[in-house]
């Protein structure tokens, strides 16, 4: 019987002949089939994954050296392009869209021997915190089918949680990797803005978007990041900074003592579940006992991060999503129109879901004449304040910790009425996207009602090495 723990162990088992890539793929195809109800996958590439597995097994048998991700079974959020496969952003407007190229991240996974098993459900155009906004139905949390998995990368999180692939790639614009990782009890890593190329990632808000990684272990997250990060001729915003060998780096410096800060306002926030507050407070005591320096600092801007995030991301979305016009790709209305503009309007209103349309409208509003300065420029100024504060914090501390989300996974349908209520689920995660720093959620805690929750760790720009080392260390402290 096939069992997956880490990529390293899997590779050892492959080399010792204890398992094969074909056996692994069969295992996941059966698991996905048995758990269809979770709605984690929009499409499964069973036949071709098996074929690729057979080829990889043959390569190993012929003595070729193993790729870093040889035979690793990966799922892709439905916003990451895979050549000759559909990618729809969980939207009707792209229902039949077939990608004509690979995202850079996809290309690099394949070059190291990964097997892509399917595309995973998410909130439409990555807009949402519960995966209830998919045009293809909600995803269910595998631990409790009445609860949401979080979002927007809900399908990718559940796939790792329920053992429907080894690792997944998602995308994180305001917490869309870390928040579902918290709700599902797994690891969710959002690297520094610009660490991974966004080429072939369907855009939501381009100055926030970053591909993220779901795994069960810190070591696997480090290995994936090492493979997919780095310069790319197809994305001029990606960083040219060299990519450290993260998978080797995490082993070094295991006993390092860190200077860690937490935001007083975050732990005192009235919306925070008291159980989560108490567990995190206890954990801070453990950290201190383990020799780390942990200090409370003020972050007066906490109340402003989510409004800033919504002004800027909706503005960027209204601009980015203007490309869906029914001309070059995607859905086009079947209603015959005399005017070109009417064709655009009907096409877009038929194709986009309500949440997407709301955000486009708000974004158009904050960019429109008469309101641009008061909303859009204002939010960019606040972003500057947040960015300057971030620089100050990391000149004194190695890391900032906080809860990842103020509550555990809520019930499906519970937060459908008020379009603003759901926004508060993002209060601890949007900061990293506003500042462009890396963040991770690691599964450390269980709530008495039975659901898991995580600790969020953030470090300075391009300091994923410290982020991953500290994560590995804290997982031991659990």
């Amino acid at each position: 019987m096939f069992r997956f723990s880490t990529i390293k162990d899997y590779h050892t088992a492959l080399q010792n002949g204890q398992t094969t890539c074909v056996e692994a793929v069969h295992f996941y195809i059966r698991a996905i089939e048995a758990q269809r109800e979770l709605n984690a996958y929009l499409e499964v590439y069973a036949a071709e994954a098996l074929q690729r597995a057979a080829e990889l097994d043959a390569r190993l048998a012929s003595g070729e050296p193993l790729g870093k991700l040889h035979g690793v079974v990966v799922g892709l959020k439905d916003v990451i392009c895979y050549k000759d496969h559909r990618v729809s952003a969980a939207s009707r407007i792209l229902e039949d869209f077939v990608s004509i190229y690979n995202a850079t991240a996809t290309e690099r996974l394949l070059a190291e021997g990964a097997i892509i098993i399917g595309r995973q459900n998410c909130d439409e155009f990555a807009m949402g915190s519960s995966n209830e906004k998919s045009a293809y139905g909600p995803v269910k949390n595998a631990l409790d089918h009445t609860r949401v998995p979080g979002g927007s990368s809900g399908g990718s999180a559940v796939a790792v949680q329920a053992g429907l692939c080894m690792v997944s790639l998602g995308s994180d614009t305001g917490g869309s990797v870390r928040q579902p990782a918290d709700f599902c009890g797994i690891i969710g890593l959002k690297p520094t803005y610009g660490r991974i190329s966004r080429y072939g990632l369907l855009a939501y808000a381009s100055s926030f978007d970053q591909i993220g990684i779901f795994t069960n272990t810190v070591a696997d997250a480090a290995l994936l990041l090492e493979v997919i990060a780095g310069p790319d001729a197809y994305d001029s915003t990606v960083s040219t900074q060299p990519v450290p060998a993260y998978s080797k780096e995490i082993a070094a410096g295991a006993d390092k003592k860190y200077r860690i800060a937490y935001f007083r306002q975050a732990l005192e926030h009235p919306g925070l579940d008291p159980v989560i507050r108490d567990e995190i407070s206890l954990f801070i005591k453990k950290l201190t006992a383990a020799g780390h320096i942990v200090e409370a600092i003020d972050f007066e801007l906490l109340e402003y991060v989510v409004p800033t995030y919504y002004v800027l991301t909706t503005a960027e979305a209204s601009s980015n999503l203007s490309r869906y016009d029914g001309v070059r790709f995607g859905h086009r209305t079947k209603v015959a129109t005399e005017e070109l503009a009417d064709m655009y309007k009907l096409t877009r209103s038929e194709g986009f879901g309500k949440e997407v349309q709301r955000r486009i409208l708000l974004g158009t509003f904050v960019l429109s004449a008469g309101y641009f300065e008061a909303y859009f420029t204002k939010a960019q100024q606040v972003r500057r304040l947040i960015s300057e504060k971030t620089t100050t914090i990391f000149s004194n501390y190695d890391a900032v910790i906080s809860p990842t989300v103020p509550s555990t996974a809520f019930k499906i349908g519970e937060k459908q009425q008020d379009p603003v209520e759901m926004f508060l689920a993002d209060i601890y995660t949007v900061f990293a996207n506003l500042a462009g720093i890396p963040g991770i959620s690691i599964p450390l805690f269980t709530h008495p009602e039975g659901m898991p929750f995580g600790l969020q760790i953030m470090t300075s720009h391009f300091d994923e090495v410290s982020l991953l080392r500290l994560s590995a260390e804290l997982m031991q402290l659990k």
Binding site: Y304, P307, G330, L340, A341, V382, P419
Partner: protein
Amino acid sequence: MEIASGTVAYLANLSRLHFNEDEQAVITDELQQMLAFVEKLQELDTTGVEPLMHMGDAVNVLREDKVAGSVTRAEALKNAPVHDEQFFKVPKVIRK
């Protein structure tokens, strides 16, 4: 800020979206709630603060001017809902 009647219709036109009257009423309410939420930013004094427009310190990277990274016409037309052998097709835009 109160959303004036007609604002949603104006924004819908700019956004190239279409809402019927019932939908307009609902979306006016929702937009009102979202605006009330982001209104909070007005509390902060940002006098003299330079707006942050670009993330990171990446600068434009230039390459040699040679043909690369293109798609074929057939590929470019592959996902178009209405097209012929060479062109994307749209409703008539020039009239007599």
